[in-house]
């Protein structure tokens, strides 16, 4: 068994977070969540009903069992700190957990996070007692600054959201992991199980996957594939990967008889 993941004192056995956008139906989303073994599910607040009226036309939350999953609201759509903070407060008022995946990406094209506004919002939300999981570019200094003010994780991107390009920011992520005092969750760009395994082998504490599962021809099976990849990558990381050599190294060494 791999070691459990601990975020803000809460323990999780799965190291795979799932996003809930882009699925062909809420039923298929529910199926994929179950198949993935995930325990942390993020939902865009702009798609949910925050009025408390149980809007049947905005009922995404009704397909996620809060007893089984930690619902992690996200602030996607916010363009600045003020908007993100307001959304987070509304989510709590609507009865959602006081956990927030802080996403501020003013550029709708690449959805890259705004470091300045993210930092400002994180400061405010931490002060208000939120458990803050900020989505950031793979910037080691920003990651350190956020940890200093008390965020529960940092969530650097591997590549732009939905791009499925894998760990384009690998070298920066390596530094973030090396310096981290809180869990590091690779948040975006994970398009294939091999990317997820790579992130875990590198020492990431968890990965978040959405597009690659949601738009797969069979989201359930793809969710299972990611689950296996994350477990494989984590196990390998905990055991320690074998060294890489430039030349071949025989499994039956020629000088073995000298022992």
């Amino acid at each position: 068994m791999s070691k459990p993941l601990i975020i803000a004192g809460r323990q999780f056995s799965s190291r795979l977070f799932l996003g809930t956008g882009k699925f062909p139906s809420p039923e298929s989303m529910r199926g994929a969540l179950a198949a993935s073994g995930t325990e942390i599910v993020t939902v865009a607040l702009r798609r949910a009903d925050l009025s408390g009226r149980r809007d049947p036309f905005a009922n995404i939350l009704e397909f996620i069992d809060p007893a089984r999953f930690l619902i992690l609201p996200n602030t996607s759509g916010a363009m600045n700190a003020e908007e993100a903070v307001r959304l987070a407060r509304l989510a709590v008022a609507a009865g959602l957990p006081k956990w927030i995946k802080l996403e501020i990406h003013p550029d709708p094209r690449y959805l890259l996070p705004d470091p300045i506004e993210t930092f400002k919002a994180a400061e405010q939300l931490v002060r208000e007692g939120f458990i803050v999981l900020p989505y950031i570019n793979a910037d080691p200094v920003l990651a350190k600054r956020l940890q200093e003010i008390g965020t529960a994780t940092v969530m650097p991107l591997g590549a732009p959201i939905g791009s499925n390009r894998g760990l384009q920011t690998r070298e920066q992520i390596r530094i973030i992991i090396e310096q981290a005092i809180v869990p590091v969750v690779i948040d975006a760009g994970i398009g294939a199980p091999s990317h997820a395994a790579e992130a875990m082998e590198l020492g990431a504490d968890a990965v978040l996957v959405n597009t690659a599962i949601a738009v797969a021809s069979d989201p359930n099976r793809m969710a299972t594939a990611f689950r296996n990849a994350v477990e494989a990558g984590r196990t390998a990381f905990e055991l320690g990967l074998a060294d890489r050599l430039e030349t071949a190294s025989s499994t039956s060494p020629l000088t073995g008889f000298l022992k």
């Binding site: 956008g21 882009k22 699925f23 062909p24 139906s25 809420p26 607040l45 702009r46 798609r47 949910a48 009903d49 925050l50 809007d55 049947p56 036309f57 905005a58 759509g77 916010a78 363009m79 908007e83 307001r86 959304l87 509304l90 003013p106 550029d107 709708p108 094209r109 939905g162 499925n164 597009t211 949601a214 738009v215």
Partner: protein
């Protein structure tokens, strides 16, 4: 720098030449690698690219699914007024058309919006003719303020205004602004627009920039296909989009491909833009602008819409009415006939004012709808196609 300058500097003749005569080798390369320039986009409009329409659509579908998932965002238009001081040859609301007009009161607008909300809509596009007296910035601000209490997402498609006039609308909670240039061909534009402020091509062209400066977050642009050469229109829309993505970088962009529909005034399209061409332009837009929303309205008939939806569409309207009061009959008692901008009769009991069969009000629509299915029927069909109809994708709290 404004788009008006960039537009004037576009090498249109080269681009059109490429759109008409790109060779098969370069078209194949562009489809395989994705278009990386306006010239590449133009090549995707060529007859040669039309030969590879299936491949174009396969790529378009894959790109759309990756970027937007298997989802279609639902919205409905709500017409506030069909009063207008412009004469636009192709539009039913033209000032000189002797039609039945009305401007809804704010309470009537709320009644219409409630009817739409009951059907599921959480995103409403407020539409009106251009008439500063009836459809003022103040009136629209009141409408937005009243609606945002129960409608999470409000956009506007109304006569262009100054940035300062847009500010109170954004403040009140409007997040999107849609303005169609109608045609990007200056000569055709001046022939089509013979009266009113809309005659000013450049003023309209830079409207999205003024709207962005006021804080709108979604900008919608389009050409009305059927007025000028469709290849020229598509190239101009793409160039406009590229400019907006650079200079209005925080805005979400949507494109539409409206085709002329029958309306009062009996205008006939000046150019043809067939189904195949429409599909080709959707796919070309998608490959060139992977992140732009593409809107499909009820101008197109039901079956055709069902086939278009999985090719690159991200936003769809349903159950639309283009006459003010069309959803509930709101304002029907205030309907009056105007000719050349003058009210010619408003006595009660006029036969003209009686709503035609199947309509809630006697007010005249902007154009005829081709897909008259209910929103629930359209949503069911979307699900059957393997997509989720998304009703709410915005929260008013974002703008507070």
């Amino acid at each position: 720098m404004s788009f008006a300058e960039a537009f004037n500097a576009l090498p249109f003749s080269n681009l059109i030449e490429r759109a008409r005569g790109a060779e098969s080798a370069s078209v194949e390369r562009i489809i395989a690698n994705g278009p990386s320039s306006l010239a590449d986009f133009a090549a995707l409009l060529s007859p040669e690219a039309g030969q590879s329409l299936e491949m174009l659509c396969q790529r378009s579908q894959a790109v759309t699914r990756q970027r937007f998932g298997r989802t279609i965002r639902m919205f409905a238009p709500l017409y506030l007024s069909n009063e207008c001081i412009n004469n636009c040859a192709y539009c039913g609301f033209s000032r000189d058309n002797p039609i039945l007009r009305v401007t809804l009161s704010v309470d009537e607008v709320v009644r219409e919006a409630r009817a739409l909300a009951e059907q599921g809509f959480r995103s409403i596009l407020l539409v009106a003719g251009e008439h500063p007296k009836f459809v003022s910035s103040g009136y629209m601000t009141e409408c937005v303020r009243a609606l945002r209490k129960f409608v999470p997402s409000l956009s506007l498609e109304v006569g262009p205004m100054e940035t300062a006039e847009y500010l109170p609308l954004v403040e009140a909670g409007a997040e999107g602004l849609v303005v169609y240039q109608e045609t990007y061909d200056r000569a055709v534009y001046s022939r089509m627009h013979t009266l009113g402020p809309k005659r000013d091509f450049d003023w309209r062209l830079v409207t999205p920039e003024r709207a962005y400066a006021a804080g709108f977050r979604r900008l919608g642009i389009a050409a009305l296909f059927g007025l000028a050469d469709w290849r020229l229109e598509a190239i101009a829309v793409a160039a406009h989009a590229v400019w907006l993505l650079k200079y209005c970088w925080k805005a979400q962009l949507t494109l539409a491909l409206p085709r002329l529909r029958p309306c009062a005034g009996e205008f006939q399209p000046l150019t043809s833009f067939g189904d195949r061409e429409l599909v080709q332009v959707i796919a070309a837009f998608r490959l060139f602008l992977p992140d732009a929303g593409i809107v499909l309205s009820t101008r197109e008939p039901a079956t055709f819409r069902d086939h278009l939806l999985p090719l690159g569409i991200t936003h769809a309207s349903a159950g639309s009415h283009t006459e003010p009061g069309g959803y509930t009959g709101a304002g029907k008692d205030a309907v009056h006939k105007t000719v050349r901008g003058r009210i010619i009769e408003q006595e009660l009991g006029s036969l003209d004012r009686i709503a035609p069969v199947g309509r809630a009000t006697g007010a005249t629509g902007q154009f005829e709808i081709a897909d008259d299915r209910t929103p629930a029927e359209v949503a069911l069909r979307i699900r059957q196609l393997g997509y989720e109809p998304v009703w709410k994708d915005w929260d008013a709290a974002l703008m507070a």
